[in-house]
């Protein structure tokens, strides 16, 4: 029988989603439902003198108005759940509704609950808040300065943590190095922009003391836990349902005050309550990503051997420490400073800094794009300084393929890789030499072509749980599956993850269909409802295929083992004499002596004739905890032409060669690469969250925040190499974030390469025409 593993079948979730028949949180409508709207601070930093709700309460349809004073003793603050050790982490309380101080534009001070969305919104306009404005600070480096306003009483200098990583002897290496290069890099804030904004609907069964929350979540089990903490309701009395979720990119991992307050109102008023974010609210209060100011250095020999890397990073956390925030610029960033290279001496210092801005947390790639970017920019500048081709320098320093598993200077161990293989393939697709010749010719005609190359590897498939515990992650990082076979031979698989665009309803069914030899139509993957699914840790960090996939495979294996016992019993043969062939257990040598999966499903479920000591039913669960992370890798190449008159960057070709091990569904892999690259091109070329000095978000709508559009995107040429991971039984690695991780430096490298003749070594992203043009003017001025 042909296997489905490896076949690019169409996504099974798409007919529902593309014809508008999905169910998103905002589609949930309950009888008697009320609507919540929030009064949000227009100031980045202010003392809250008073909140007057009288006028709002008089609005027709308004049922209740809650302030921070009303809620502070009845709920707990939003918890930070990644307590990174050994960095003196300070996570001051983040009240659900601010009552003493507001610390960013959008910080909620009151909640209006009404019979309609419109009435709730009208009520918001009539809540009178008396603020005493305080100074704002939006830049994480500046926030550590003496002059900067202090956000939290017990966080001197606004420094939430000082985290260090080191390996080898960086001080000596840098002191003695023949060549050193250094850069100051900005990795601006980004606004995640999931198509579906956040939303929550809560209902409270007072008699049972049970809370049900529908919420846009990447990890409903984590939200159940966080709600339990914030609301003081025991975990077994909370059901969290994440129905269809329209994208997250990390922004739907954290626990937010909003959904907890919706629950609080439902409990207090004993009626269902709904809240749906609008886009302006989304841009103000849903987490942002990145926000680094980096001072980075690299040293090496004159002939291209990299010997050391050092960083000093100011990572903006925004006003409060969001759920996973401390782990992003540390564990998921600093530990990756070796990239795909053998860099023996590494030292990094990361300051997590509070600023009067929207909290920052995981955004597609979460820490690794920032690491890859700084490494790849440094390698490029180093190569130029020693007058070597950057590809030659990269090749010289890549970890050789026979050295895996390979432990880098930061102490983590990469599972498997063939970095040269991916590099060769990508260079072949471009014909690198020919492009260099074309570039030289174009330069003579006054045209500026450039090529950027990134060789990368990244850490994902977040697990194992033991490591999670050791690095202070407030949860496990295993995942889970229950495979339940019905009497008629059809199957439901309940998973602990929560796919929200990645396509596991398809790929996991492919795994199970192969395992049982049944049509994929007979299998349904169920995710997102804590009432139905086993404890799991959610979909982020490209972990669902690499950690949840093996759980599905293991549970299915267990079902099959039991089915085999039953088959042997029914066929009066020994298990050793059975073979699995074409979807049946067959007695070796007697092809007519066979039991199909369907036969066994029925016989196990009716249990008329079970083997002695074997329980009825056909179902199994598995909790899979990997032995290590997985490390996908690859090479991206981009060629550009820069119009030096206008600063406009045109992408000529974009080539992505990625290795995520064996591909369950190559079409979905390609889709993830496309999406990731597009997001990275947005970051490289046009996306940036801008605050003014007063902490006002100037990119608060889509009129000013430049999410990439289809018409702005180039064709993306994808290819892959296949290097299995020894970490999990499927050999698979994550592919959800590689595109974002690799594409940003690739584009910036290409533009800097194009402009090298003008003496430009670096331009901070995003490379908008205005920015590139200004850099060109500056370079020309300098030359004069």
């Amino acid at each position: 029988m042909a296997t489905l593993f490896g076949s690019g079948i169409k996504r099974r979730e798409d007919p529902r989603l593309l014809t508008g028949r999905g169910t998103y949180t905002d589609d949930v409508k309950l009888p008697g439902m009320l609507y919540a709207a929030f009064v949000r601070s227009p100031f980045a930093h202010a003392r809250v003198r008073s909140v007057e709700t009288k006028r709002a309460k008089k609005v027709a349809g308004v049922v209740a108005v809650y302030t921070g004073q009303d809620t502070k003793d009845r709920v707990n603050p939003v918890p930070c759940a990644w307590n990174v050790p050994n960095c003196d982490l300070r996570t001051p309380p983040h009240p659900l509704l601010a009552y003493e101080k507001v610390r960013y534009v959008g910080d909620a001070v009151a909640m209006v609950v009404a019979e309609s969305r419109a009435a709730a919104r009208d009520g918001v306009d009539l809540v009178d808040v008396d603020y005493e404005p305080l100074d704002a600070v939006v830049n994480p480096e500046k926030a550590t300065g003496k002059e900067a306003p202090q956000l939290h009483a017990d966080v001197p200098g606004n420094v939430a943590f000082t985290w260090k990583v080191s390996g080898g002897d960086p001080a000596k290496t840098f002191a003695e190095a023949a060549v050193k290069v250094e850069l100051r890099l900005l990795q601006p804030r980004l606004q995640p922009t999931a198509l579906e904004p956040r939303a929550a609907v809560a209902t409270w069964n007072d008699a049972m003391g049970q809370l049900t929350l529908w919420v846009t979540s990447q990890n409903p089990h984590i939200h159940r836990f966080l709600c339990s903490v914030m609301l003081k309701v025991p975990e077994h009395k909370i059901r969290v349902v994440a129905p269809d979720v329209g994208g997250g990119f990390g922004s739907k991992i954290p626990g937010y005050a909003d959904e907890a307050l919706v629950c609080f109102a439902a409990m207090d008023l004993k009626r269902p309550v709904k809240w749906t974010e609008d886009r302006s609210e989304n841009y103000k209060v849903t987490i942002h990503g990145r926000d680094h100011v980096e001072y980075v250095e690299l040293c090496g020999t004159k002939d291209g051997t990299i010997t050391g890397l050092r960083t000093r990073v100011y990572a903006g956390l925004g006003a409060y420490a969001s759920t996973a925030a401390p782990g992003i610029p540390t564990i998921l960033h600093g530990l990756m400073y070796s990239g795909p290279y053998t860099i023996p001496n590494i030292e990094g210092t990361v300051y997590g800094v509070y600023t009067t801005t929207t909290p920052v947390d995981a955004y597609r790639g979460a820490g690794r794009p920032e690491a890859t970017y700084l490494i790849e920019r440094l390698v490029e500048v180093y190569a130029r300084k020693i007058k070597m081709d950057p590809v030659v320098v990269r090749r010289k320093n890549l970890i050789p393929k026979d050295k895996f598993p390979y432990t880098v200077a930061t102490g983590i161990t990469y599972d498997s890789g063939d970095y040269q293989g991916a590099l060769d393939k990508a260079l072949g697709m471009l014909d690198y030499k020919a492009f260099r010749a074309e570039q030289a010719k174009a330069r003579k005609q006054g045209r500026y072509l450039g090529v950027g190359v990134t060789t990368y590897c990244e850490i994902c498939g977040l697990g194992p749980s033991q490591v999670a515990g050791a690095v202070g992650f407030g949860g496990g990082l295993y995942d889970s599956a229950v495979v339940r076979v019905y009497p008629t031979g059809v199957v439901r698989v309940y998973i602990g993850g929560k796919p929200h665009g990645q396509g596991e309803e398809t790929t996991f069914a492919q795994i199970v269909a192969d395992e049982f030899g049944i049509p994929i139509e007979n299998i349904e993957i169920v995710a997102g409802d804590t009432e139905a699914t086993p404890q799991g840790w959610g979909t982020y960090g490209s972990r669902t295929t690499a950690v949840g996939g093996p759980a599905v495979k293991l549970a299915a294996d267990r079902v099959k083992e039991k089915a085999k016992k039953l088959a042997a019993h029914l066929l009066e043969a020994s298990e050793a004499d059975l073979e699995w062939k074409d979807g049946k257990f067959v007695v070796r040598g007697s092809p007519d002596q066979a039991k199909t999966f369907g036969d066994l499903a029925l016989m196990a479920n009716v249990a008329w004739n079970m083997p002695p000591g074997v329980e009825p039913g056909l179902e199994a669960s598995a909790f899979y905890d990997p032995s290590n992370f997985v490390f996908p890798f690859g090479t991206h190449i981009c060629t550009v032409e820069v119009d030096v008159e206008t600063g406009r960057v045109k992408i000529l070709r974009y080539i992505a060669v990625d290795d995520c091990g064996p591909q369950i569904n190559p079409m979905l892999v390609e889709g993830q690469v496309h999406g990731g690259v597009v997001q990275g091109l947005g970051e490289a070329l046009q996306e940036i969250a801008v605050y003014d000095e007063d902490g006002q978000l100037l990119t608060g709508t889509m009129m000013d925040y430049a999410v990439p559009r289809a018409s702005q995107m180039p064709k993306i040429e994808t290819a892959s190499t296949v290097t299995p991971s020894p970490v999990n039984p499927l050999g698979v690695k994550g592919i959800g974030e590689t595109g974002t991780i690799a594409s940003v430096p690739t584009v910036v490298n290409a533009v800097c390469d194009a402009l090298a003749p003008l003496g430009i070594t670096h331009i901070d992203k995003p490379l908008t025409p205005a920015t590139v043009w200004a850099a060109i003017q500056q370079a020309k001025g300098g030359a004069r």
Binding site: R117, D122, D125, G647, V690, L698, T699, A770, A774
Partner: protein
């Protein structure tokens, strides 16, 4: 994004519409592409919104004696589809194709856009270059205002509070004229960082007519009168470059997070040069 409460009615006649225009607290709506966002942000809070988008008196594209007449409530979509306009003023379709997206063009109207007078919208540059004449009507009567006297500032026009824009007359182009629209878009909004419309007629190798309208650059879209100095000259590279520099000379340019004033001025020079070059190439 919930607007404050308002009453919505559809005008049954032009008289209804004119009455609405003259009533305090009332706003007319055509395609709603600019007004609805304002309502949703509660930046506009009228108590009554009167729909004029469907009125036949405000629609259609007709040939008249002096030129082509466009009803104010004609959608961008209809402009794109009009054979008549393709023949008489191809710059309209060239510009319209770059406005918003399909949904915006299906609903948005030329009159709504001009009346709204967003200083970064595209069409003002075109009506300035074409020397269009706008008909403004109120219950007090009708008057004609040249486009070149219509735009008074950001979101401000020569319309009186009780007036509606009813028609836009595009005079026929001079004999042998070529036109072009050149813009640089702001990546997020798609509006013009700078947009330039040019009309150039050439006879016997020399320019006989030249007009340039510029949007996005300053707080008001404007007609660059200096372009007329091209008349009598050969439209070569150097001359057009100089004309481009002259067109933006002394302009106080907008500055925002998307572009500095210096960059906008630079882009404007590039856009004027390119628009003039293309228009001259199409002339004859």
């Amino acid at each position: 994004m919930i607007p404050a409460a308002f009453e919505y009615t559809r005008a049954r006649s032009l008289a209804d519409a004119l009455k609405a225009a003259g009533t305090r607290g009332t706003k007319v709506i055509a395609g709603g592409q600019s007004l609805v966002p304002l309502l949703r942000f509660r930046l506009a809070q009228p108590s009554v919104v009167v729909d004029i988008g469907h009125l036949p008196q405000l629609q259609g594209i007709k040939r008249a004696k002096q030129g082509t007449v466009i009803g104010a409530a004609t959608t961008y979509r209809d402009l794109l589809d009009s054979k008549l306009l393709h023949n008489t003023h191809p710059i309209i379709a060239e510009t319209t194709a770059g406005i918003g997206d399909r949904q915006v063009r299906n609903r948005g109207t030329i009159g709504g856009g001009l009346a709204h007078a967003d200083p970064a919208s595209d069409m003002p540059a075109v009506v300035l270059a074409l020397d269009a004449v706008l008909t403004l009507q109120s219950r007090r009567g009708k008057r004609s205002v040249p486009a070149r006297k219509f735009f008074k500032g950001p979101f401000a026009t020569a319309m009186k509070k009780d007036e509606l824009l009813t028609e836009i007359l595009l005079p026929f182009l001079p004999q042998g004229a070529g036109t072009a629209y050149e813009s640089f878009e702001q990546a997020a909004s798609g509006y013009a960082l700078v947009g330039v419309a040019a009309v150039v007629a050439v006879s016997g190798g020399a320019v006989t007519h030249a007009a340039v309208g510029i949007t996005g650059l300053a707080d008001t879209p404007f007609f660059a009168a200096s372009a007329a100095k091209l008349i009598g000259r050969t439209p070569n590279k150097e001359i057009l470059r100089a004309a481009a520099a002259a067109a933006v000379e002394g302009v106080s340019a907008n500055e925002d997070i998307h572009a500095s004033a210096e960059y906008r001025l630079h882009l404007a020079r590039v856009a004027v040069r390119k628009a003039l070059t293309t228009a001259a190439g199409r002339a004859g």
